[in-house]
Symmetry: C2
């Protein structure tokens, strides 16, 4: 009998692989080891749970352990895979009661990523959070809720929730001031969430603009908008320490010595792939530090796959590998690997680095290569133009300024990336650009796309078309 | 000296050509003959002007005659071109004071289309409207406004407006019941507009569902929604006559003899291209009855171009010519011809038949080939699947059901069309499908598009991706 498929990690990639495999090949044994108690949850929903727009933690679970069981998947929570022996084809598992060796026929490493705290001393203080995981999100919401209104049962989460942790935060007085360290996804989303609790929000960003991965035009719009919405924005300000007293957060300190008093700190300075368990194996890492895989998600070791935030992908624009840990591609790669293991070789699909984020009312999107240095490193001669156009016909109510940046390679005229920001349907418009990247379209072709027009939804020339017209003009110069 | 460029028609296509040409080659003489008084106006905004969401007619004008003059364009309103002599290279013009022959170096026919009324007797009655032109839209709004609140100066439009017509309608008692004949774009948009005036709205559609060009799934959703919003929907009901007494509308009659009393009738049963002036010339028509052109918009006669609602285009899916009279492609073709005439040969660009329409809160989109018979006529073996998915993460407020249909060719796996309907950002999502058509993507490639995901904007799997997954599964059967 074939040894089971062993999957390390019970979140997006791991459970997508397990679900697809169990559906397509119900007879194949599948074991998923998850080191924590939470499985199959929506990371991206955490800020909205903190804000209170999402009521309960259970709302953020895609599949309950019971549903996973119904699919015939043997899920073992609180089981940590601590080592892999690719010669013996076994993994060493530390469970709550014992440790054991588990043989595998195929192995899927889907260990995810961990929020970085290493650059910021003091991240372990009570009142400092990374918002990476549901316990962390629940603890923040507990702290924000006045103690006399707090009831742990309001949070949901059943036996997965760390009740002791949450009860401790629920008993604390709500913070008056919060310091957010890092102006990326987590930073801007948490600014909105904390603002909803009437906390005085300070956001510290090391670079000159927030959401740097979205480029300058988006960053400027978001910076203006955060200020409009009352966020105290500290740009070019590098926090090096969360300050504390008696184990509790009391503020943050910047490299220049300036400090801010705060009772709550959110540290969102990026994530790092969880690759420790492959360190002493022949499984190879890519340049980005995540696990290198081929187009089927297979690592350098036969029958060992990797997917999700711990693995690299292939970039549709550069053709090179890239590490872009995001939700869709984790789900998709897991699903493809599940299908491959069920007997139908399925490519995981390229990534374009498409991402969207909501900063209060501003919808931000980006895809492809928008940074000039990154473009040059990939062998392109980047030409970029930014325009602002309406989201609807000028005369139609609700028309909002929409700023689009498109980037092309001068020699080939090919579109290589773009960004967008605006309050009216801006985010989903980035999909037009992402699809054009996948199709390998030139800017000239993008300019002539037959996109939708009706006064309530778009002007005659969609903002993406306006940007393509202007960029095409620049390419002809 | 070269004879001038003569442009017949002063709306989207004609003035786009004139503007582009005058910008790129300011020395070239350009004369635009427009038979009416209105120029450069937004047809698509008329229902929203009737509804009152758009205040004044002037809001619907892209360019005023004065602005056109500033661009160095010699615009002659109320000048009708009644004949073309392609041998002599002249047009015969009937102006308000005299008739004359105008020599041309290049000729652009941009005569647009006219709303059809021929299938419906009685369309000339007072109280019957086609909503094709600003006078018609102004007259409806005048009739809807109670006489004691009516002031012609509120409508805007300056000396272009037919004051006598509008004043006459402004003096009438507002209608209690309106019959809309035709459930296409004009029909559903006018249902919303008339409903806003508390008129009892009846909509008659010959086929089994409204907006038939959007396919069955959209039609069903729109039918349900129109009824929810209080519109009396008469499906499979063919109106053959607007009934009248003393020259005034009194109701409509269906082929089966049934009648409805109504004081206002809107006839929206399609448009027909204005091609009379080329009838006795060597300029050829295409199969759709509009003027046949090559990829630069040039007709069968050298130096004679055609663009906009009177001309055909090239369909990116079929590679064949097609007549799809819509706003963007009219503007784009006009602009390309203007550029070609200025010395830079520029293709007008293909069309995908992308269209969007708002039916109260439902946003509808379509692109490519979605009708099975039409697909087979174009040589495809169509396979189609329809899915319903969320517009946002299920736990995020504002998540709305979004129904997507995708159609592919079985043999090649190529995506050939799609439709979408939903209340939350559905319309702009059709651009993803339109762009995939332009890129010639297969359903397999669409399934692996790296589209945007964040809880407020999209679920992990965008509805378009869900549809691609299901259709891809069907293709593999």
């Amino acid at each position: 009998m074939t040894d089971p498929v062993v999957i390390v990690g019970g979140d997006a990639a791991g459970l997508s692989a397990a679900s697809k495999l169990s559906r397509e090949d119900p007879d194949r044994e599948v074991i998923v080891f998850e080191r924590g108690r939470w499985v199959s949850y929506a990371h991206c929903g955490e800020p909205y749970f903190v804000k209170g727009e999402v009521d309960e933690l259970d709302d953020l679970l895609s599949l309950s352990p019971a549903e996973i069981d119904e699919r015939g998947i043997d899920l073992r929570r609180e089981h940590e895979v601590v080592a892999i022996d690719t010669d013996a084809r076994t993994v060493s598992v530390a469970g709550p009661e014992d440790s054991f060796e588990q043989p595998y026929g195929d192995l899927v490493v889907a260990t995810g990523a961990t929020a970085r705290t290493d650059p910021i001393a003091g991240s372990e203080l009570t009142g400092a959070f990374t918002i990476h995981g549901l316990d962390s999100a629940a603890a923040v919401r507990a702290m924000l809720t006045p103690p006399d209104e707090f009831d742990v049962d309001d949070l949901g989460g059943g036996d997965s929730l760390d009740h002791e942790l949450v009860a401790r935060y629920g008993a604390m007085a709500p913070p008056e001031t919060a310091a957010i360290v890092g102006g990326g996804y987590v930073g801007v989303e948490m600014a909105e969430a904390l603002d909803a609790w009437d906390v005085d929000v300070h956001l510290f960003q090391r670079s000159a603009l927030p959401v740097p991965m979205f480029g300058e035009a988006v960053g400027e719009t978001v910076a203006d908008h955060l200020r409009e919405r009352g966020v105290d924005l500290h740009l070019g300000a590098e926090v090096d320490r969360v300050l504390g007293e008696d184990g509790r957060v009391t503020g943050v300190r910047c490299e220049d010595g300036s400090t801010l008093d705060a009772e709550l700190a959110v540290v969102g300075v990026g994530v790092t792939p969880n690759v420790e368990i492959v360190e002493n194996t022949p499984v190879e890492l890519g340049e980005g530090g995540a696990i290198a895989v081929d187009e089927y998600g297979e690592t350098a070791v036969e029958d060992v796959y990797a997917a999700g935030d711990c693995a690299e992908d292939h970039h549709v624009v550069t053709g090179e590998t890239a590490w872009v840990p995001l939700g869709l591609t984790a789900n998709r790669a897991g699903r493809a690997i599940g299908r491959t293991l069920a007997g139908t070789p399925t490519e995981t699909g390229g990534i374009a680095g498409t991402a969207v984020v909501k900063a209060f009312e501003q919808e931000c999107g980006r895809t492809g290569i928008i940074d000039a240095d990154e473009a040059r490193d990939a062998g392109f001669d980047p030409v970029s133009r930014t325009i602002t156009a309406g989201s609807r016909s000028g005369y139609y109510p609700g028309n909002e300024e929409t700023t689009v940046t498109l980037v092309a390679d001068r020699a080939s005229g090919r579109l290589i990336g773009g960004s967008i920001v605006g309050k009216d349907r801006a985010a989903v418009r980035i999909d037009t650009v992402a699809t054009a990247l996948e199709g390998g379209l030139t800017v000239d072709e993008v300019e002539r796309l037959d996109l939708a027009y009706a006064p309530p939804f778009s002007p005659v020339w969609d903002p993406v078309l306006v940007a393509a017209k202007v960029l095409n003009g620049a390419l002809e110069e």
